[in-house]
Symmetry: C2
Subunit: 120 residues, 2 copies
DNA sequence: CCGCATCCAGTTCGATACTG
DNA sequence: CAGTATCGAACTGGATGCGG
């Protein structure tokens, strides 16, 4: 087997799972929503208030996507006015390490950006 | 301080860095490109062959974005035909833990999807 | 053939307004 | 409160072209 072929296989072994993960977590809003729900069950507009700049439309759409992938559970209480509560499922909680690593990288990245801006 | 306010602050501390990270890594293609370059320096069309379904246009655009964020270095060799080599910078390599965690989650997720499809 | 740039179509996203 | 409806802007994808 040639070097390039072996490299190609090794590379694909990493690429496909990451592709699968990105297919579920794509877009700007899904991880922020999950983070919001990591800190407790929330109602629709409560999530909206915690995520800067998200619109109702996007929040509604992304919550539906997350629900379809069983990361988030939606519960409707038949009170008046109607109350809808969103909960992170057990499966949703398995994303905690992912978020933790991204958070650490994001902090380092912000430090780097700030330093660059002050020296240029 | 009320419970909700404290939760809001804690939550934001996690959300902002993740937001910063996502701003750099957004889209379907950036992480696959970085993975490809983790396995060695590559030329334009070599990267294209390793990433299923990516078009030349997207590859070109995403490489430029990554270059601007100093995750990837672009070197042009004045040979005939011209050769352009892409390299992961040291900073680009700091994304390895992020990719590793996403890869692990993606593998588990694929297992889960497969199981569901066979039992439903 | 290599690394793009350009044109055009389809999809997604965002702002605002509105409903039960 | 918890979303929908609508419209325009932005982003994405495919086909094609082009200098070297």
């Amino acid at each position: 087997m040639k070097t390039e072929e072996r490299n190609f296989s090794t590379c694909s072994k990493h690429m496909f799972p990451v592709h699968d993960a990105l297919a579920v977590l794509n877009g700007k809003w899904k991880l922020p929503i999950i983070i919001s729900l990591m800190f407790g069950n929330k109602r629709f507009s409560q999530i909206g208030r915690e995520i800067p700049k998200i619109t109702d439309k996007m929040l509604s759409k992304e919550l539906r996507d997350l629900e379809m992938n069983e990361l988030v559970k939606r519960t409707v209480y038949d009170s008046i006015p109607v109350v809808v509560e969103y909960t992170l499922t057990d499966y949703g909680h398995t994303l905690e390490p992912v978020i933790e690593v991204l958070r650490k990288w994001g902090e380092k990245h912000r430090e780097r950006i700030m330093k660059e801006e002050s020296t240029e």
